[in-house]
C-alpha cells in the first residue's frame, strides 16, 4: 500500500469516523445540558432575540468598530477565504464528487488565488495579533496555537499541491487534513459548529428579558 493509498483509504475513514462521532458527541452533550427554568414573564420574543444576537455579533456594533476592525477584517478574510477554498476549489469539488456523487461549479483559478490570499493573510495576521497583544497572549493557550498551526499547515500543503502533479504532495495534504479532522472535535475548532448555537442561546435568554445583548 502506497502512502497515497494509506491516506486516501484507512486513514481517511478513521479520521472521518473520529470527526463525525466526535462532533456529534460534543453537540449532543451541549444540547443535553438544556437550560435552567426562567420563571420571569417574557418581555419579548426569545426567538427574535436569538436572531438579533446572531446578526449583531456578526458585525461590529455598539460603537466598537475601531476596537474590533482588525479582527473583523482579518477574521472575515480568513474564514470566507477558507470556506471558499474548502467548498469551491476545483480539486475539492472533484474530491467531494468522488465521495458523494454531488458536484457543483468550481472556482476559476483567479478566484482560488484570491480566496487563498485572503485566507492566508487573515490567518497569519490573526495569529500575530494573538502573539503580540499582551492581553491576547495571556488569554491564549496551547489549543489556540495548535489549532491555528494545524489549519495553516493544512492550507499550506493544499496550496503546495496545487499543480496536482505529484502523489506525494497530495498524500501529505490528506495526512494533514486527517490530523486536523481528528483534532477538531476536541478543540476550540468546534466553534465552527457551536458559534451559532452559543449566540442564539445568549440572544434568546437576553431577548426574553427585553435586553439586546
Amino acid at each position: 500500500m502506497s502512502f497515497l493509498q494509506l491516506t486516501q483509504g484507512p486513514l481517511w475513514y478513521l479520521a472521518s469516523a473520529v470527526f463525525v462521532i466526535g462532533v456529534a458527541w460534543r453537540l449532543i452533550g451541549l444540547l443535553r445540558l438544556g437550560r435552567g427554568p426562567d420563571r420571569s414573564v417574557a418581555r419579548r420574543s426569545g426567538v427574535a432575540g436569538a436572531l438579533k444576537a446572531i446578526a449583531l455579533h456578526s458585525v461590529p456594533h455598539g460603537g466598537n468598530l475601531k476596537r474590533t476592525i482588525y479582527h473583523f477584517v482579518t477574521g472575515y478574510g480568513f474564514h470566507l477565504g477558507l470556506f471558499t477554498l474548502l467548498f469551491f476549489a476545483a480539486p475539492h469539488v472533484a474530491f467531494i464528487k468522488g465521495l458523494t456523487g454531488l458536484s457543483w461549479t468550481p472556482l476559476p483559478r483567479w478566484g482560488f488565488l484570491i480566496a487563498a490570499e485572503a485566507a492566508f493573510a487573515g490567518l497569519i495576521l490573526m495569529w500575530l495579533r494573538r502573539m503580540t497583544d499582551p492581553v491576547m497572549r495571556r488569554l491564549s493557550d496551547a489549543d489556540d496555537h495548535i489549532a491555528t498551526w494545524l489549519v495553516f499547515i493544512v492550507m499550506l500543503t493544499g496550496c503546495l499541491a496545487l499543480q496536482e502533479a505529484h502523489d506525494s504532495l497530495r498524500a501529505l495534504h490528506l495526512l494533514c487534513v486527517e490530523a486536523l479532522m481528528i483534532y477538531f472535535p476536541f478543540s476550540r475548532l468546534m466553534h465552527a459548529f457551536t458559534f451559532l448555537v452559543a449566540r442564539a442561546y445568549t440572544g434568546a435568554t437576553y431577548g426574553r428579558r427585553g435586553v439586546t445583548p
Binding site: 488565488l113 500575530l128 503580540t132 499582551p134 496550496c159 503546495l160 499541491a161 502533479a165 506525494s168
Partner: protein
C-alpha cells in the same frame, strides 16, 4: 522561475573529480591528435581532379530549385535568431531558436547563481566567525529591571507579517533558485520534482501577500528612518565596535540602511515578481512591437535576473538583521516580541531616543507592555 532542463552544470559547481576527468580527457585528446597528425596531413589535400563547387547532399534548398544557400548557412541564420514564417502571427512565433534565451541562461547560470550563493554563504560564514570571536553582545551595564515601550502593536504585527512571508518566500525561492545544483543530487529527481513544484506554487501564492506586507512595512516604519548627521558619526565609530560610544536616535545607521535596503529590494522583488506572475498582462507602454522576441519574454528574462539578484541582496542583509535581532545582541528581540526594551539597553544603543523617552521607563513590565501595544511609544 524559468530553468533550462538541459543546462550544463556550471564550472563553480564542479568538484575536483570533474577537473581530473577534464584533464584526463584533454590528455587523451592531445595524445590522439599527436598520433593521428601524420595520417591527417596526408589525407586533407584533395585530389587534383576534385570538384570543389558541388553542394553537399541534403534537403532541397530554400528559395529556389538550384538554391543559393547551404544548409549550414540557413542553420547559422536560425541559430542567430532569424525569423521565418509561421501561421501563428504573434511576435516571435517565426523564430525557431531565440539566441537571447541562451544569453539569459548563461548570465543566470554562470554569473547570477554562483555569485548569489557565494554571497549568501559568505554572509553566513562571517556571522558564524563573528559570533565565535565576539560572542553575544551583552548589555554592559546589566539589566536595570525597568523597561521602556519601544514598538507599538501595529509596528510589531507589520514587522512579523513581513518576517513570516520573508521566511516562506525565502525558503521556497532558494529551493527554486539553487535546488537544481544543490538538492537534486542529494534527494534525487523524483523528490526534487515534487519539492520544486511545491516551492513554485507556494512562492507564487505568497508573492502578492508579500507585496502587501512590504508596502505596509514601508508605510509603518518610514517615519524616523531618514538619515541624519548623527548617523554618519555612528558609522565612523563603527556602531561602537571601534571603541567609544556611538550615539543614535530611535534607529541607528545600520537599522536605517536595512530599512531602505529592504524597501528597495522589496520594490525590485515586487515589480519583477508581478512581471513573472502576469507576463500576459503587461501594461500598454511595455507592449513594444518586436518581430523576433516577444516583449513579455524579454521582460521575463530580465525579471528573473533582477528577482534573483534582489532576493540574494535581501536575504543576505536579512541574515545579518536576524542575527543581531536574536542571538547576536542581548535585549534586542524583546523589543519586537513584547514591545518594550530594558532601560540600560536603550541607553547603550539608542541614547538620543532614550533621552526623549526616559520618563516612560517603568518597573511594571506588564503596564509598559500594554502602553506599547496602545501605541504610546
Amino acid at each position: 522561475m524559468m530553468t533550462n532542463p538541459i543546462a550544463p552544470k556550471t564550472a563553480h559547481l564542479a568538484g575536483p573529480g570533474l577537473l581530473a576527468g577534464v584533464l584526463a580527457l584533454l590528455a587523451a585528446l592531445l595524445l590522439t591528435l599527436a598520433l593521428a597528425a601524420p595520417a591527417m596531413a596526408q589525407t586533407v589535400r584533395p585530389p587534383a581532379n576534385a570538384t570543389t563547387n558541388v553542394l553537399p547532399p541534403g534537403p532541397e534548398m530554400r528559395g529556389g530549385v538550384l538554391g543559393n544557400r547551404s544548409d549550414g548557412a540557413i542553420w547559422h541564420d536560425i541559430r542567430k535568431g532569424a525569423a521565418g514564417e509561421s501561421q501563428d502571427l504573434r511576435a516571435g512565433s517565426g523564430v525557431l531558436i531565440q539566441s537571447q534565451g541562451e544569453d539569459w541562461r548563461l548570465i543566470r547560470n554562470q554569473w547570477v547563481l554562483p555569485i548569489a550563493w557565494k554571497v549568501l554563504a559568505g554572509v553566513l560564514a562571517v556571522l558564524i566567525v563573528f559570533f565565535a570571536l565576539r560572542g553575544r553582545i551583552r548589555i554592559r551595564g546589566g539589566r536595570s529591571g525597568r523597561v521602556i515601550p519601544r514598538f507599538s502593536l501595529v509596528e510589531r504585527v507589520v514587522h512579523w507579517f513581513v518576517a513570516s512571508l520573508f521566511i516562506l518566500m525565502g525558503i521556497t525561492g532558494l529551493i527554486i533558485l539553487f535546488g537544481r545544483p544543490f538538492l537534486l543530487p542529494l534527494i534525487g529527481p523524483g523528490a526534487f520534482a515534487a519539492l520544486a513544484s511545491a516551492s513554485l506554487q507556494g512562492h507564487n501564492l505568497f508573492g502578492p501577500i508579500f507585496i502587501v506586507s512590504i508596502t505596509a512595512l514601508f508605510v509603518t516604519f518610514a517615519r524616523g528612518n531618514g538619515f541624519r548627521w548623527v548617523d554618519l558619526k555612528w558609522l565612523l565609530k563603527g556602531g561602537g565596535m571601534l571603541g567609544g560610544h556611538a550615539s543614535s536616535g530611535r534607529y541607528n545607521f545600520g537599522e536605517k540602511t536595512w530599512f531602505w535596503w529592504a524597501s528597495l529590494c522589496g520594490l525590485a522583488l515586487s515589480l519583477s515578481g508581478l512581471l513573472l506572475l502576469f507576463p500576459d498582462h503587461l501594461p500598454g507602454f511595455l507592449q513594444t512591437a518586436s518581430a523576433e522576441v516577444p516583449p513579455e519574454r524579454t521582460l521575463m528574462q530580465w525579471a528573473t535576473l533582477v528577482h534573483a539578484v534582489a532576493a540574494a541582496a535581501f536575504i543576505g542583509f536579512g541574515l545579518g538583521h536576524i542575527y543581531l535581532g536574536t542571538i547576536g545582541m542581548e535585549g534586542a528581540l524583546e523589543g519586537m516580541t513584547r514591545g518594550t526594551v530594558d532601560e540600560t539597553w536603550a541607553k547603550e544603543h539608542h541614547d538620543l531616543w532614550y533621552e526623549d523617552h526616559k520618563a516612560a521607563a517603568s518597573a511594571n513590565a506588564s503596564r509598559a507592555e500594554v502602553r506599547a501595544a496602545a501605541g504610546d511609544v
